[in-house]
Amino acid sequence: MSATGSSLNNPRPGPPLWLLAELTYRCPLQCPYCSNPLDFAETRDELDTESWFRVLREAREMGAAQLGFSGGEPLVRPDLPELIAEARRLGYYTNLITSGIGLTEAKVAQFREAGLDHIQVSFQASDPELNDAVAGSKKAFRNKLAMARAVHEAGYPMVLNFVIHRHNIHQMDDIIRLCEELGADFVELATCQYYGWAFENREGLMPSADQLATAETKVNAHRERLAAAGSAMKLIFVTPDYYEERPKACMNGWGSLFLTVAPDGTALPCHSARILPIEFPSVRDQSVSSIWYDSPGFNRYRGDAWMPEPCRSCDEKDKDFGGCRCQAYLLTGDADNADPVCGKSPHHDRVLAARRAADHATAPLAELTYRNARNSRVFAKA
């Protein structure tokens, strides 16, 4: 057989081990860093229960073991308990990724009964004023607090997620103390990555290098304190790509482990990939298996034959796979390019310019473009 061509560079990938089921783009909150597409309001035709059952079954047969129910806010789907029960029956480890808005103690118990393994509650800050200002909702914090307590009391493991940006990064001590008080097992301190709405709002969200260094020092001090006390609470601090000199191995490689199915059935290698000028398949038209193994969209960036320089001859290309395609597209207009986060990228100056801007940014929170249907329709028209 031919030893040239793409077969050597594109060996058959392993199965998707992680399925992210974005059940809906609807959400009661308006966080200005939402990872949903800017034109989310145009998506009205959500997959029905039976279609989700089929997606869950097909992906599980291929080997998917971790399942995230996400959104939008997945709680707005009335069939969520049925989806949880079916997923658990199929053998998935089921994660509900929620804002906590719309959750009640009865639902927490009902989901437990259905077999839900874990609930991740997101917070926007450690105090009600800032939390509710970021979320664009007046009662969000109170509700989240009550639900985090209910989740813990029901015996779930608990991950608390805080998206960190320049307006809340000074709260690291308070955030970690709040998480301890709530009995979190894992705390994700996820510094904003700049996709979707966060890219639109980057100047108003990105922390300065000084802010970031201070936060990291605090997190490390808390880690040492927790370890010395024998605490099992784990702090996961995600630094923003924009302060790295080498790109992340995005999604562990394109079409390598992760499969996202968007509310309308579009299948994606990651939840932000639908911004790319690539035609992605839909689970309405194809089986999950043919999407994963055979579709042009999922094969587009597998292997390394697609890479231009400087990635092509780089000895780190097997480690980072050229970084993130979405970041390359957003920052250079061409998704084939090296992720500009990389110091070797000819476009790295754009990342450096964003860092400089972050040192001088002064815009208040209220000037950000909030994620809501009205703003989304403006993007859809443009």
Binding site: P15, L17, M62, G63, A65, Q66, G68, G91, Y93, N95, D117, H118, Q120, G155, Y156, P157, M158, V159, D185, F186, A232, K234
Partner: protein
């Protein structure tokens, strides 16, 4: 350690994955693929048996492997430090 009883940390699940031909440990948003010996040890954890009983059971199951106490205790200590299991 011998009289202690190990159990999985709440929210952690151990299961066989045919697609990976391996036992895995599943936890919030994570998965560890286990090698054969780690899989065999975790499979023997049922929240009832003590470490000594688990050692005896595994030595009976793998008679050609020789004494297993050290390897098992090392693994359990490691798993406890990673907060996969609780030893009480």
């Amino acid at each position: 350690m011998n009289t202690q009883v190990p159990r999985l940390r709440p929210g952690f699940r151990f299961q066989w994955e045919p697609a990976q031909q391996a036992h895995v440990l599943l936890y919030p948003e994570g998965m560890v693929k286990l090698n054969t010996s780690a899989g065999a040890i975790l499979e023997a954890i049922d929240g009832q048996r003590s470490v000594a009983e688990i050692i005896a059971a595994l030595e009976a199951r793998f008679p050609d492997a020789g004494p297993l106490a050290n390897d098992i205790c090392d693994f359990l200590e490691d798993a406890r430090e990673r907060h996969w299991i609780i030893l009480e």
